[in-house]
């Protein structure tokens, strides 16, 4: 299953793109998706446990990703 991962701010700068395409097995979790991202050269510069959003909500590492989910890597937020 191919998942498009949205990137913002410092992460978009690091990857040089506003999104990534990541291939994961069906039934993979957020944690497994993150492991795939971290296998990429730039992914190694990410924090140990970056935040991930699934369908515009903060996700837990064990959440299962379904086809069509909107996935985003969330850098440390700095609003206000």
């Amino acid at each position: 299953m191919e998942v498009r991962v949205l990137l913002f701010a410092s992460y978009a700068d690091a990857f040089g793109a506003p999104n990534l395409s990541v291939t994961i097995p069906d039934g993979a979790t957020v944690k497994e998706l993150l492991a795939r991202v971290k296998e990429m050269a730039v992914g190694q510069s990410l924090p140990a446990a970056p935040l991930i959003a699934r369908n515009q909500e903060y996700a837990a590492p064990g959440d299962i990703i379904r086809a069509g989910d909107e996935i985003a890597l969330i850098p440390p937020v700095a609003g206000g």
Binding site: D13, L51, Y58, P75, A78, G79
Partner: protein, 147 residues
């Protein structure tokens, strides 16, 4: 009454205060976040805000709903601006009215503290020497999820 928005234009503070006005309100509290000229000892000339728009709107809406649960009877209007801001520009405005001052003040503080922890908005400081850097405060959400 609650209204939340991520906007790309200058925030009309008077309009936000007017929105929460009611005959039942005995107190109105206003918080403004503004762009300041020094951060960590470096001269700042401006600030660039960006957001994961759809999620930021959702998180702000959730925070407003939580504030209404905690401070029954509160009326809230919240706007966060994104884009390039100059020194002194208002980046966020929170107006809260309530029959009593304590709840109006507490609701305002609750909203800004939660916003800073959870709403996916980022800012990049522009410095006097021409460089730019993303601001990276430690995030309690990051700690929470990491645990």
């Amino acid at each position: 009454m609650t209204r939340t928005a991520i906007v790309t234009h200058a925030i009309d503070v008077a309009a936000i205060i007017a929105e929460v006005a009611s005959d039942g309100a005995g107190a109105t509290s206003l918080f403004l976040g503004t762009v300041r000229d020094i951060n960590d000892g470096r001269a700042v000339t401006g600030m660039e805000y960006t957001a994961y728009g759809a999620m930021a709107e959702r998180e702000l809406t959730k925070i407003a709903a939580e504030a209404v649960d905690r401070f029954g009877g509160v009326a809230l209007s919240i706007e966060h601006r994104i884009g390039v801001l100059a020194l002194g520009d208002v980046s966020v405005a929170i107006a809260a009215s309530h029959p009593h001052r304590r709840d109006a003040l507490d609701a305002t503080r609750f909203v800004i503290e939660e916003l800073k922890k959870r709403v996916p908005i980022w800012k990049r400081e522009h410095y006097a020497d021409g460089t730019r850097e993303w601001v990276d405060p430690s995030s309690s959400v990051a700690r929470m999820v990491a645990e």
